[in-house]
């Protein structure tokens, strides 16, 4: 059975970018949000430390300084016009959230308080600046809640626990999606004039990650299969402070409030790697520093972790400003952070790459950036390239709000001037075939086994440090895993909440995304931001100051193309902190 729905605008994903877009798009017509989770379960809620905007509430600051930091932090792979838009609109975006009730922490005078964050500096790198507004260490939770509240107020229609499994294209335009209703196994065809992908990240390609189970790259994978290239997929961020082995994030705000990293000798080793900003260097540098310390035998007790140390901070400050992260340490590690070091290691955290868009959220094709009519993307699944090769802390929350808003606003205008696309008669054929293959296959392969092997190998061979050798080996492994994935068997043949079937389907998305990451990382013979090649340790602006675009060939293999970085006022210079 199939139900068909028609909306002016459709949003896939109910995290910050999707909800912010919905609030805007509803001004242009009827809007529906489709999410595989209940909206408040989205991973925006896990963001902790803050959201940067040059409000200058507690010390001098300017959007121009913020832009410079974003471009430099991204190792000059940032499209500078997009970064300028983001940092300029940040100020209004923050006040808008406050006006919607977001409970930010305040200064004694009642203004929005601001704290330090990695890579955010005063006057082009002179020293750390207090730029991040925050709600204790649950800023993302408050953004998600506030945006969901505003959607309730505006009566936005939600389809919760629906998995979008196919993108419907007609004459080069996006005209709808096919979705699977988890509760019933019913397929739904959603026709729409404009469709925005806001499906979030894909950290689950890695073994140690801060990302939720749900973050399997469905949006990028669907776009990729529809012939849309994926941009800069090799640019993946490893956050320095994940809980040892589990990967659960301990916010950079811990270091923003004065926390320090220490190696097995008790040394504050970041002083050697970034003499000016020390522990508040950008994440790629800190993650590599940790890797180096461990490699040289200076992990704690010679093991593969270091300590995040807050024992010198007043316990009342820790309880007031970092309550959640200290609780994580207590619960998951059994460690008391006020009296002992917390074991941490880099954890797969954020995809800088994704579905290429322009600054209005329109998905664009090729080096000429031709918009795909009706298709939009925003947030982590998208690449407008404000993060370049390494995202600065807090800029993801800013990205989702600014570009969710811009995408939604463009959709609201766009849907007024176009009519609904043609009715595709065999719309569900592909989805049915995909599901049948998983349900009726007579293979013996286990989804969890394949997924686990992929995650371990990805973390090992395409993680903080990569080489041509490790990546070539990885590609061989991924291709074998894909063959095995063709023979998975699903035990649950039922129609009600068949989460096993969905996990099997998600595995295909993970493998697609992993392929593009490995291909991009192998091609890029340089080191830049989050992409570090031990065999090419230096940045190479002459050959690699360009974005990669990964296309899916009919054979299933990856074809790479490139497009120039949009430059601006900031010429590439050596990246020192």
């Amino acid at each position: 059975m199939t139900t068909t729905h028609s909306f002016d605008a459709l949003i896939i994903g109910a995290g910050g970018a999707g909800l912010r877009a919905a609030i805007e798009a509803i001004g242009g017509g009827d809007v529906a949000v489709i999410s595989k989770l209940y909206p408040t379960r989205s991973h925006t809620g896990a963001a902790q430390g803050g959201m940067c905007a040059a409000l200058a509430n507690v010390e001098e600051d300017s959007p121009e300084w913020h832009t410079f930091d974003t471009v430099k932090g991204g190792d000059y792979l940032v499209d500078q016009p997009a970064a300028q838009i983001m940092c300029n609109e940040a100020v209004e975006a923050v006040y808008e959230l406050e006006h919607w009730g977001l409970p930010f922490n305040r200064t004694p005078e009642g203004l929005l308080d601001q704290r330090r964050f990695g890579g955010h500096t005063r006057n082009h790198g002179e020293g750390p600046v207090r730029r991040a507004v925050y709600s204790a260490d649950r800023t993302g939770h408050m953004i998600l809640q506030t945006l969901y509240q505003q959607c309730i107020k505006r009566d936005v229609r939600f389809f919760n626990e629906f998995y979008v499994m196919d993108l419907l294209m007609e004459d080069g335009a996006c005209v709808g999606v096919v979705a699977y209703e988890l509760a019933t196994a019913e397929l739904h065809v959603f026709r729409a004039k404009a469709i925005l992908f806001a499906t979030g990240g894909y950290g689950r390609i890695f073994n140690v990650t801060s990302n939720a189970h749900a973050l399997t790259g469905d949006g990028p994978a669907l776009a990729y299969r529809a012939g849309i290239p994926l941009e800069d997929m090799e640019m993946y961020q490893f956050h320095p402070t994940g809980i040892y082995k589990m990967g659960i994030l301990l916010s950079e705000a811990v270091r923003g409030e004065g926390g320090l990293l220490r190696n097995g000798d008790g040394e504050r080793f970041m002083e050697r790697y970034a003499p000016t900003v020390k522990d508040l260097a950008p994440r790629d540098l800190v993650s590599r520093a940790i890797y180096q310390e461990i490699k040289e035998g200076r992990g704690i007790d010679g093991k593969d972790y270091v300590h995040l140390d807050v024992t010198h901070l007043p316990p009342e400050l820790i309880e007031a400003k970092l309550p959640d992260v200290t609780e994580f340490a207590r619960i998951y590690l059994g460690v008391e952070p006020t009296t002992e070091g917390v074991p941490i290691q880099p954890t797969a955290h954020y995809a800088m790459g994704g579905i290429p868009t322009n600054t209005d959220g329109q998905v664009v094709l090729g080096a000429d950036e031709i918009p795909v009519p009706g298709l939009y993307a925003a947030g982590e699944c998208a690449c407008v390239s404000v993060h370049g090769a390494n995202r600065l802390g807090t800029n993801s929350l800013l990205d989702i709000v600014v570009f969710g808003r811009r995408g939604g606003r463009h959709m609201a205008d766009y849907v007024k001037n176009v009519s609904l696309g043609g009715k595709i008669s065999d719309a569900t054929e592909q989805t049915k075939a995909d599901l049948d293959r998983l349900l009726t296959g007579n293979g013996t392969e286990n989804v969890a086994d394949i997924r686990k092997e992929m995650q371990v190998e990805m973390f090992d061979k395409a993680g903080v440090v990569r080489t041509a050798e490790s990546l070539t080996e990885l590609q061989g492994i991924l291709s074998k895993l894909r063959e095995r994935a063709d023979h998975v068997v699903v035990q649950d043949k039922g129609s009600l909440f068949n989460t096993e079937l969905m996990e099997a389907w998600e595995l295909g998305c993970l493998l697609d995304v992993a392929d593009t990451l490995a291909a991009g990382a192998l091609a890029r013979d340089e080191s830049r931001g989050g992409h570090f090649r031990e065999d090419f340790p230096l940045r190479d602006d002459e050959n690699w100051l360009k974005h990669s675009l990964a296309y899916r060939e009919d054979s299933g293999s990856v074809r790479l193309d490139f497009k120039p970085v949009k430059m601006g006022p900031y010429a590439p210079m050596e990246r020192k902190y």
Binding site: G45, G101, P103, S135, M142, I331
Partner: protein
Amino acid sequence: MATNQVELTLKIRRYNPEVGEKPWWDEFTVKVDPMDRLLDALNEVKWYHDGTLAFRRSCAHGICGSDAMLINGVNALACKVLVSQYGSKVTIEPIRGLPVLKDLIVDMEPFFDGYKSVLPYLINDEPVADDKERIQTPEQHAKFEDSTKCILCAACTTSCPIYWADGSYVGPAAIVNAHRFINDSRDTGAAERLRILSEKTGVFRCRTTFNCTEVCPKGIKVTKAVQDVKRAILFEKY
């Protein structure tokens, strides 16, 4: 991979209307690390023992609120408790008071309907400049900060005996979210929310059992928030 693995038996209440009308119990024994989350043990069951077992999960560290369950008779998030606290056997059931749809998955719609009924969004139509904040002191912020921690996991509401007996009661989670706005110095909708909560489906159904406060995974003083709202209705003028 993990060291010091121990065996844990999970006794799980199952239900699948495609299979039969009646719920049943299954037991699975899995090898776990004592520092594993209970959610890890459930995944072990699902991935390697019985793929049909259905439960919700996402963030796996107590933030998203997907995996509230009745664990040894007490509501908790499966990702926020470690297996070590349960010895060799643990009993897991769906949260109570909401219709069970399959295994540990319940119908969350009535819960979210209760939440939506208290107007859970800032109400303030006074104009405000685009380029500045509404002033709020840290003391004013502190009055409602505890209530902003709510992740809508439903652990509190589905541990409330009043809610089990009569689902028309909006329940503690909805009241906490009303409390969050009623006490926000920037909000002007308190009178309307207090009117809604003074109805027979509202706060006066509460019998201060404190179950809600005991199970809240975010440590919110839920019963206190409910009592605050009762007092506001009885003694304050809006």
